[in-house]
């Protein structure tokens, strides 16, 4: 089978139609990069289990058609719903465009929010799909936390897309920088609506100053017919702490890349995730921690519950460079497979070039623990109830690792809804 190709003619036209602002030269450079390197195929080890054909198809159809403007009332309703349910100071990006009302009014001590087009710096686009993102980017957000600042409320970033009748595609880019000794938390929320196909592609960069702390929660709850690829790149400073928790509840075709670069000693990095996949969903989480120096700690735990004809992919990689003594890296991945049409692909990788290290990984794929099931049944629960209880508990382990405590209840509710749905489909 011939790999799907992006139609470059149409892409070039689309890039040319974007405003001739301070990002224009970056867009053209990214386009050239994309033209030269193309998009990754399944022959590329990092894309072995995820074929980009479906999103390339959406991109091509989007490039060749008239854009529609989303109906504002529906969007307003969703924005309001999300912003109300989670306590945060919100920024909103709709269909790849920054919503002025939120960005302009954003005033919190120690936090400054600007547009990338105001800065005119170079956009980073060396990694797969980040070139596509840079080439088609309308504008992005830059969030800057001043040295020593410790804002009390999380910064919320809502990414919302809509595709009613014709295929949609959007690019979003957020650059976050924490200066030394600051501490802040961030919520990234992805939602979408509409009956037509949609593909969203996001790039987030996070730079942690010395002794700074960032707590992040990402929730992806897109419509069941919509796709997303996202990349988060983190560079950690000396003695900094980064905690991230990702929840993939919705969407059809999802690929997340999380890359942490530990370039200064003393960093503590923790990233966890939960993916719930049913129907025809394809959810792929790739994580990578580059331990360039030691001592530093990275721990991660991802859990997946996969039902229907869905496919859950997890690939965790830790690279320990020569001389990075005192590295402690651990990876854990547990999966529950609920249907005989579903598939789990797991790949925990370690590449180690230093000897004074502690590295481990553990992965399991299987069913619920039979002893626990039996125990609950002896206490009077039906098999169905017992399975629900244990499955919820399996997911809850990740919720409780989520670094923003105020969100735990909201998360637990969302996950319970989605699980009820999955378990019904699984006939449990």
């Amino acid at each position: 089978m011939k790999p799907a190709a992006l139609s470059f003619e149409a892409l070039r036209d689309a890039v040319e139609r974007l405003p001739d602002d301070r990002l224009a030269s970056s867009r053209r450079a990214a386009l050239a990069h994309l033209a030269e390197h193309g998009l990754p195929t399944t022959r590329n080890e990092d894309w072995k289990y995820t074929d980009l054909a479906p999103v390339i198809d959406i991109s091509n159809r989007w490039l060749q058609r008239e854009r529609e403007t989303a109906p504002s009332h529906e969007r307003e309703k969703m924005v309001e719903q999300v912003c109300r349910s989670i306590d945060a100071d919100w920024l909103v990006i709709c269909d790849g465009a920054i919503d002025n009302r939120f960005a302009t009014d954003f005033e919190q001590p120690g936090i400054s929010v600007t547009r990338l087009s105001e800065h005119g710096g170079e956009l980073q686009f060396g990694m797969p799909l980040s070139d596509l993102n840079a080439a088609l980017l309308q504008d992005g957000l830059r969030i800057h936390i001043a040295g020593g600042a410790t804002p009390s409320r999380p910064v919320g970033i809502l990414l919302i897309d809509h595709a009613a009748t014709s295929p949609g595609m959007s690019q979003a880019r957020i650059e976050i920088e924490l200066e030394a000794n600051s501490a802040a938390s961030f919520v990234e929320y992805h939602v979408s609506s509409g009956a037509a196909d949609h593909y969203a592609n996001t790039v987030t960069t996070l730079r942690l100053g010395d002794n700074s702390r960032a707590d992040c929660v990402r929730i992806q709850n897109r419509a069941g017919n919509h796709s997303q690829t996202g990349r988060l790149s983190v560079v950690s400073g000396r003695d900094s702490r980064f905690r991230h928790c990702a929840f993939d509840l919705g969407g059809k075709f999802i690929r997340n890349d999380l890359h942490v670069d530990i370039a200064r000693p003393g960093a503590q990095v923790e990233f966890n995730g939960l993916y719930l996949a049913g129907d025809q969903q394809h959810i792929d989480n790739h994580t990578r921690a580059d331990h360039r120096v030691g001592p530093a700690t990275s721990t991660q735990e991802y859990r997946g519950i996969v039902a229907g004809s869905a496919r859950g992919v997890w690939n965790g990689k830790a690279i320990v460079y020569e001389g990075a003594d005192g590295t402690d890296a651990s990876q854990t991945n547990h999966n529950l497979l609920l249907s005989d049409k579903a598939e789990v692909d797991a790949k925990p990788e370690l590449e180690i070039y230093a000897d004074d290290v502690k590295c481990s990984h553990g992965t399991t794929v299987g069913e619920l623990d039979e002893t626990a099931l039996f125990y609950l049944r002896t206490r009077g629960l039906s098999e169905h109830e017992a399975k629900q209880v244990l499955t919820r508990a399996f997911a809850q382990a990740i919720v409780s690792k989520s670094p923003i405590a105020s969100m735990h209840d909201t998360l637990a509710d969302r996950i319970a809804d989605r699980l009820a749905n999955l378990l019904q489909g699984a006939g449990a």
Binding site: E322, K358, C359, T363, T364
Partner: protein, 482 residues
């Protein structure tokens, strides 16, 4: 008839004595590979038409294939046109005349491994008399086997005497176009072993290449086929702890195992091809395809390997668990020292119901070496009740080496239970000091700790092989610490 166990034991303990080497009059073909070369190889071996056709099909497929590049190894490109695909055993004129002409370093190693004198001569390639008193050993051995109905002979002999078996099983586990090196091997393979154990027969002794008549030069493209018919059992030992030197840098062997209903095959390997010198010069490229097919219900295939040699090892002994309740096992110790590179592991493909597999991999890296475990566990949708447990441990000795783990789990059955664990450790300064405080030298302490690390795998080896494997490990890691 049941074999006399005492007699067998005495045979086994005399295993360093070996068969004779017959003189094959043949020259070396010019380098390069095309259809004519394949035809010439086949002709020289007097092969039947079906064999030639089979080789040619493989060659045509190989021509269109790409050399794999995914392994975690680096080496200069191989010029396949510069290789001679058929070479006769070295003539006596080219060999050292006596052990005095052999590299003293090599002799020192033989000494450490406790290899008997006359065996050293053969290993070092010294021209020796073709007839030893061990001919009688080999003959007794062959008699025992044929009494039980077991066929154990060079592959070329099997093509001649048992074409129906070869036709039925050859390439059914590793198809010609399975991978680049397997295709190359299929086109030009030199020789190897063939084993057939009939229904219900338990092979009365460990089959070892040591016993094999004409084992001296099977060449760089070895091909082995072992078939265990229903309810049979066989244990096969391959390799040798002594360092093996070979003029051919590229080795691309293929091993196929077939286990029918209720049959069991145990395949043990000690690989100690020349690893190159301490600066990484020279050494064998060992690109091997080994696969077992648990074709029948309740069958079992168990791979145990101790890999210490070769500059580059690329090897994944695998099990296709097709039969219901079949069992696959992989126990591996891979040592990489100096500039060696190893990318090795296994594949367990669960197809039948209630199939189970166990993987225990112990990787030891020292010097500037790179040692990677690469393994796949795949559970197909119909494989209800599949079970896998993988334990994958790395031990690092020194600051310049690398230890890598690349496990793949592809699970498509909700009733499957798959567990993978991996750890990395080093020999800690505290452990060494503790042992030294008890009076052990640093080297002995390292050897002791390394052997402890590998214990789970060594216990799977046949007893006398295990003892040698330990000694081999110690020699392989010489100079790794301090």
């Amino acid at each position: 008839m049941a074999p006399d166990p005492d007699n067998i034991e005495s045979l086994v303990s005399r295993r360093y004595e070996h068969g004779f080497v017959t003189d094959i009059a043949a020259d070396t073909m010019p380098p390069g590979l095309d259809e004519d070369v394949v035809r010439a190889i086949s002709a020289r071996k007097n092969e039947p038409e079906f064999m030639l056709e089979w080789r040619l099909r493989a060659y045509r497929q190989w021509r269109d294939m790409q050399e794999p590049a995914w392994a975690h190894v680096h080496y200069p490109p191989i010029d396949f046109e510069a290789i001679s695909y058929f070479s006769a055993p070295m003539s006596d004129d080219d060999r050292p005349k006596s052990l005095d002409e052999v590299d003293p370093k090599l002799l020192e190693t033989y000494d450490k491994l406790g290899i008997p004198l006359h065996e050293r001569a053969r290993l070092a390639g010294v021209a020796v008399d073709a007839v030893f008193d061990s001919v009688s050993v080999a003959t007794t051995f062959k008699e025992k086997l044929s009494e039980a109905g077991i066929i154990f002979c060079p592959f070329s002999e099997a093509v001649e005497n048992h074409p129906e078996l070869v036709k039925k099983y050859l390439g059914t586990v590793v198809p010609q176009r399975d991978n680049f090196y397997a295709a190359l091997n299929s086109a030009v393979f030199s020789d190897g072993s063939f084993v057939y154990v009939p229904k219900g027969v338990r092979c009365p002794m460990e089959l070892s290449t040591y016993f094999r008549i004409n084992a001296a030069n099977t060449g760089q493209f070895e091909r082995t086929l072992i078939i265990a018919d229903e309810g049979s059992y066989v244990s096969y030992l391959e390799g040798c702890t002594a360092p093996m030197r070979d003029e051919n840098q590229l080795h691309a062997a293929v091993v196929e195992l077939v286990a029918l209903d209720n049959a069991e095959i145990k395949y043990s390997t000690v690989q100690n091809w020349y690893p190159g010198d301490e600066n990484g010069k020279g050494g064998i490229y060992n690109f091997v395809t080994k696969r077992g097919d648990c074709r029948g219900a309740n069958s079992k295939i168990s791979w145990t390997q101790v890999e210490t040699g070769s500059a580059i090892t690329w090897k994944y002994p695998s099990c296709i668990l097709r039969g219901d309740n079949s069992v696959g096992e992989f126990y591996s110790v891979a040592v990489a020292n100096n500039y060696q590179q190893a990318d090795t592991g296994t594949k367990m493909i669960h197809i039948g119901r209630n199939t189970s597999s166990t993987i225990v991999s112990k990787g030891i890296s020292a010097g500037h070496a790179q040692n990677a475990y690469r393994g796949l566990v795949r559970v197909m949708p119909q494989a209800d009740g599949a079970r896998n447990h993988t334990q994958c441990d790395s031990l690092l000795i020194g600051k310049k080496c690398g230890a890598h783990t690349f496990p793949y789990m592809e699970i498509r059955n909700p009733g499957a239970k798959v567990e993978h664990e991996a750890t990395t450790s080093k020999i800690s300064a505290n452990q060494l000091f503790y042992c030294r405080q008890r009076g052990l030298s640093e080297e002995d302490a390292v050897n002791m700790i390394v052997n402890g690390f590998c214990k789970e795998v060594f216990k799977e080896l046949p007893m006398e092989f295990a003892v040698e494997a330990q000694a081999l490990l110690n020699v392989s890691l010489e100079g790794a610490v301090g």
